[in-house]
Symmetry: C2
DNA sequence: CACGTTTAGGAACGATTGTTCTTGACTGAC
DNA sequence: GTCAGTCAAGAACAATCGTTCCTAAACGTG
């Protein structure tokens, strides 16, 4: 019963994720959102409650439909090089790592719910990165190695995030690719 | 001639840099600035012209008084491990890498002047990182190595930025330290 | 065809944004 | 002591912010 919706909620969330991946949260106004999302103010507030609600939905969507598959590909990569290539590949669809990057920098420090989601996403990325490093390593896990292994994993995700950051802010793609290859090669030894 | 100033311009710029290193540009209002800087609206606009003018001054200040010395220490580090430790050391004074990080993520995409300063800063960081990698390497630079060497340098700065990002957004300090040590060790080989 | 219910459309809200205006206080030079 | 020039103090500006209210439109059901 009632008038049918003139918009697809999932599509709106997806578009919102794209917008939020491009500009800052504070830099993205409700006017921007209603203009680019094809949904009107009233429906937006009826559906998501607030700007923050829409943002959280968009972030959740991006983590689930964009980051999760990427994590899967990283975890099953043949080695660090393939993992880095997967992570830095231009996202044909979706927002890739950008929304996570922005969320970590600007929202996590002031929004505990965002901070939790970001921390969880980073942890998952770490596990996948660790798996990719371990992939071509055989099974050389003594006990004293576990600390170094986890350190290597967070280092790999940190490098990927840093490279994505540089790609976003103007560093040439070939330079980023070279850097990705260089670090993957170093992690590959042994 | 004229009434003397009731504030120290350099101190204002330094404090502004600290504020901008903590919150977003859009998330930092003029009210916030005048409240924390001890300078009044009129003087602020008389001195810096606009919010963006103050931001650019703060960013320039941070790059000059905070990043430049850090770059020097990295360039003269005995090796990657020492370089990473220098870069990730909690900034006793100043804004460290945080303002650069935020500028790269949120302002560079929408402000070409910021983008230029960020690109230059990254390039300088790359050179210093390259020097630190080369430090314990002897002088094994054939021609075909130059691409890999520069790739390794940008990879190192990317990793440092990524680790700083993670430290900012909640990852434990010991995990970050382990990751820094792990990557530095890998770059150290040879 | 009313009825209840859900959405769309758009005006309107108070609050906050970045910026400017007005007035008066303080200074060195004449 | 007057004058020009700089600064402080705070009110005030128009614009935009996120949010809400009101009315009309479109449905399923009786």
């Amino acid at each position: 019963m009632g008038r049918p919706r003139g918009f697809d909620e999932a599509e709106v969330v997806r578009s919102a994720a794209e917008l939020f991946a491009g500009r800052t949260y504070d830099g993205t106004s409700i006017d921007d959102l209603v203009a680019h999302l094809g949904v009107h103010r009233n429906s937006l507030y009826k559906t998501f409650g607030s700007k923050r609600g829409l943002y959280l939905a968009a972030l959740r969507w991006s983590l689930e439909h964009d980051l999760a598959p990427l994590i899967g590909r990283i975890a099953e990569a043949a080695g660090p090089l393939e993992a880095v290539r997967e992570a830095l590949a231009a996202p044909a669809t979706g927002t890739g790592l950008d929304l996570l990057l922005l969320a970590a920098v600007e929202r996590a420090p002031v929004d505990t719910e965002v901070a939790g989601m970001v921390a969880e996403a980073f942890a998952a990325l770490d596990r996948a990165a660790g798996a990719s490093v371990r992939a071509d390593d055989g099974d050389s896990d003594s006990d004293s190695d576990s600390d170094e292994a986890s350190g290597l994993a967070t280092a790999l995700t940190a490098a990927v995030l840093g490279l994505r950051l540089r790609a976003r802010s103007g560093t040439s793609g070939t330079a980023v690719d070279r850097a990705g290859a260089a670090i993957a090669q170093r992690l590959d030894q042994r």
